[in-house]
């Protein structure tokens, strides 16, 4: 018999959004029991790697209107304006709570929280803790969460399936990685907070755990994925490793320079106007690619790059505001930014798309909520502004937590025998995959082929033919995936088995992304086509949806919620 555990709410993912959801659920109802499942110990979650900061109105010269419009414009008018309004109003409360919970925000001389400039933001509204903001936020949240006995953690457990009965999600099947057994964990509502999927690309800031697991779980349970074609390339990653060099480097005054030593965002017209280095990420990533294509890149071991010059900031400012950047540059590329420019190139960083959620973090599957990068609440539209995503984890994590409590209270739970039956089927499927000898396909080779195809079809610049090619390649890789052979048949901490299931999720996410990209015949935000260079509000001012179908993904669409801001040409 499969072991069955019961909670009121099950949360999958222990990063910024999952932890915030858990705390919000306890705040909403101290009698609630929460199962918090994470495939890693929560402090290992990828929130930890965020560097530059979290946005929320804090200064006298700022207001919700300004943060709202910056976000709408940054989204290239594909953000839902009601969602954005809710977000900007909740943002200061959430960052204040983090302050109360011990987050070591950097301070002004008078003891107020300091803010810095960020790309596409019209004033200094990015709260920061030097350049280790994600690290400090995650640890503050995790440590604060330890106060609450209502939050029962299932660390290093991998959710393999959502259990649905009577059209309502009722729990999950979860593989305990250490024990090597699948259990049923029931909950009257479920929150997915599993993060993004950068690992479907070869060159990414993302850690190895970012494999789109939650997106795949929801997709296979019938929830569409929304706006998947919009993939954010961060302008400044280290060549080779893809390690993130924060946008705060530019917020603090750093310059991007080409091989001639020119500040190309100033010297040439890339649409960012006098914002220059403080332009939004999509535009700056395109500018870097164009500089390289114009022959003004610099040749390195890992291809062409441009320089990020911080030398004029001085050692003191770099040490105080950007200590992690200095450490990373020294360790991972052998450059001290106090004396030399840092080689950088655009790198896959963030998925604007994800599980289709509404303003309440709810999905179309009753009882299922999602928050953070795995979700697409349509806050970010076609391009996210830097420092909105850490705040997004908090705002929509909290909302998901509260709404999941309310849903659980009104739900009686499903047919337990049916749910346990599903769990047993799932356990058998996982057991059959473990160490199976069948097939000659090697996991790492399929992953590599997937990475290569995503880069060539869904890169910074796209064209119909290469996108179509990627759609075909991913479909073929799904066929090869059905034929993988595994070497590790052991039960305890079998990371090859986890990697195999992660690869399955990556293929689902990649498929949705490639299909959505090939289907959008315009250029908007991060989706930039060489063969359809203009934004087309007449035909394409809508979200894309991708629905799972065993016969192949189905494309659909969904209206954008406009409001007081009518779409205009996006120029800075």
């Amino acid at each position: 018999m499969i072991e069955v555990l019961r909670h009121d709410i099950v949360i999958v993912g222990g990063g910024g959004a999952g932890l915030r959801a858990a705390i919000a659920a306890v705040e909403a109802d101290p009698a609630v029991s929460i199962g918090l499942i994470s495939k890693v110990y929560p402090m290992r979650s990828h929130t930890v790697s965020a560097e530059g900061g979290a946005a929320a109105v804090a200064r006298e010269d700022d207001n919700f209107e300004m943060h709202g419009y910056d976000t709408v414009k940054g989204s290239d008018f594909l953000g839902d304006q009601d969602v954005i309004q809710y977000f900007v109003e909740e943002a200061p409360k959430e960052l204040t709570l983090l302050e109360h919970w011990g987050c070591p925000w950097s301070r002004n001389e008078d003891g107020t929280v300091a803010t810095r400039a960020f790309g596409g933001m019209s004033t200094k509204r990015t709260w920061y803790a030097a350049d280790k903001v994600g690290f400090h936020m995650l640890h503050s949240l995790f440590q604060h969460s330890m106060r609450f006995d209502q939050i029962v953690r299932y660390d290093e457990q991998f959710v393999t399936k959502l259990l649905v009965d009577g059209g309502v999600v009722q729990g999950v099947a979860s593989l305990d990685i250490r024990a090597g057994v699948v259990r049923v964990i029931l909950g009257r509502s479920v929150i997915l907070a599993t993060g993004g999927a950068g690992k479907i690309f070869p060159f990414t800031t993302n850690g190895t755990i970012k494999t789109g697991d939650g997106m795949s779980l929801a997709y296979r349970a019938g929830v569409p994925l929304k706006d998947m074609e919009f993939v954010q390339y961060h302008p400044t990653g280290l060549p080779g490793t893809g390690i993130l060099i924060t946008e705060a480097t530019r917020g603090e005054g750093g310059h991007l320079k080409n091989s001639k030593g020119e500040r190309f965002l100033v010297e040439y017209d890339y649409g960012v106007g006098n914002k220059a280095e403080l332009g939004p990420r999509d535009m700056i990533s395109r500018a870097i690619v164009q500089e390289i294509e114009a022959g003004r890149g610099i040749q390195g071991t890992y291809g062409q790059y441009v320089n990020l010059d911080l030398t004029h900031l001085g050692a003191d400012k770099i040490n105080k505001r950007l200590p992690m950047v200095r450490e990373l540059a020294k360790i991972y590329i052998g450059v001290d930014p106090v004396t030399d420019p840092i080689p950088i190139r655009p790198v896959v960083h963030y998925m604007m798309g994800g599980i289709d959620t509404d303003i309440e973090a709810a999905t179309v599957l009753p009882g299922l909520y999602a928050a953070g990068e795995c979700a697409s609440a349509s806050l970010n539209g076609a391009n996210r502004l830097g420092s909105n995503s850490l705040t997004e984890c908090l705002v929509f994590g909290a909302s998901a937590g509260r709404n999941a409590v309310a849903f659980a209270k009104g739900s009686s739970g499903g047919n337990e025998a049916a749910l346990i039956g599903q769990g047993e089927e799932e356990a058998a499927r996982v057991e059959a995959l473990r160490g199976r000898q069948k097939g000659g396909e090697k996991l790492s080779h399929i992953r590599q082929a997937l990475n290569d195809s995503m880069e060539s079809g869904c890169g910074v610049y796209r064209e119909q033919a290469s996108m179509n090619e990627t759609v075909r390649t991913v479909a073929a890789l799904k066929g090869r995936y059905a034929d993988i052979g595994l070497q590790d048949s052991s039960k305890v901490f079998n990371t090859e088995l986890i990697a195999a299931m992660e690869l399955g999720a990556m293929l689902d996410v990649a498929e949705a992304m490639a299909v959505a990209a090939a289907g959008r015949n315009e250029s908007r935000g991060a989706h930039t086509r060489k063969d359809a260079t203009e934004r087309d509000d007449v035909n394409w001012l809508h979200h894309s949806l991708v629905h799972f179908d065993p016969a192949g993904p189905r494309l659909g669409k969904k209206d954008v919620t406009l409001g007081k801001w009518e779409p205009v040409e996006r120029k800075y």
Binding site: V40, Y41, M43, R44, S45, H46, V48, S49, K93, L95, T96, L97, E99, H100, W101, G102, P104, W105, S106, R107, N108, E109, D110, G111, T112, V113, K132, F135, H136, H139, Q143, H144, M146, R147, D155, R178, G207, T208, I209, G240, T241, I243, L244, T301, M324, E327, L328, I331, Y332, L443, S444, Q487, D488, S490, K491, V492, F493, N494, T495, E496
Partner: protein, 248 residues
């Protein structure tokens, strides 16, 4: 192109369902000049032996997952340049922890120790969100900031001679974390934590070897935290003898 360099890796293997005790396995692989130690493990996992188990994620020295013994010393494998090691490199799970599998160690005890120091802001009266952020001067922030940099990589537990002999010792990182909150100007929980620190197996167990601070990849200096926490726990106790209970 000259012939690609090769290195031999001697790696601890252990599967509790098959092995009574850990053994080692050797792998000889081609390596790149700019690799970290972790890159070699990932190459082995991907190309040679899919059954090798190790933890890693961020590969930028902040998630704290990939601590292991490299040639006998606790290291973050994503941070250590492979070129600093010889033709043969020994990789073993972190010392002073039970082994789960291969290079994976058990964290249960470590997590319990963490929680025991009450690593959260304690206040007599919780502040409402409407009251806005608390003020904290840059100097007040500086008081505890260093001790808030711990990434929980556990290298200090592997290096600590007290942990080796007395597994119940709550250890450098947990003490540094508790002390970090006690030093925070927003916190009022120092007395509660001092009581924890006066208990058995905490600050007074430390023998001042300073190994923890030497191996810390984030320069947290847990030894300094232990020393300060010890002092505060004594002062607090002595004051309790002189002043009426709760008098402050």
């Amino acid at each position: 192109m000259s012939e690609q360099q090769k290195k031999k890796f001697v790696i601890t293997r252990f599967d509790p369902d098959r092995d009574e005790v850990p053994k080692t396995q050797e792998y000889e692989i081609p390596v790149q000049p700019d690799w970290k130690v972790l890159d070699a493990l990932n190459f082995i996992k991907d190309e040679v032996d899919g059954s090798l188990s190790h933890r890693w994620s961020c590969r930028m020295a902040v998630c704290g997952s990939c601590g292991m013994m490299v040639d006998g010393e606790p290291k973050l494998t994503c941070k250590e340049a492979l070129s600093n090691y010889g033709d043969t490199v020994e990789i073993a799970p972190l010392a002073n922890f039970p082994i789960v599998r291969d290079l994976v160690v058990e964290l249960d005890g470590f997590m319990d120790k963490f929680k025991s120091v009450k690593p959260w802001i304690i206040r007599a009266k919780e502040r409402a969100v409407e009251e806005g952020p608390m003020r904290q001067s840059p100097e007040e922030l500086e008081e505890f900031k260093q001790f808030s940099m711990c990434i929980n990589c556990m290298l200090c537990y592997s290096a600590c001679p007290v942990v080796a002999n007395e597994p119940e010792f709550i250890g450098p990182a947990a003490i540094a974390l508790g002390h970090r909150y006690s030093l925070d100007s927003r916190d009022e929980g120092a007395a509660e934590r001092n009581e924890v620190f006066r208990g058995e197996g905490t600050v007074f167990s430390c023998s001042f070897a300073n190994e923890c601070s030497e191996v810390c990849p984030k320069h947290v200096d847990p030894a300094a935290a232990v020393n300060q926490a010890k002092f505060n726990a004594v002062i607090d106790w002595a004051q309790g003898l002189i002043l009426p209970r709760g008098g402050k």
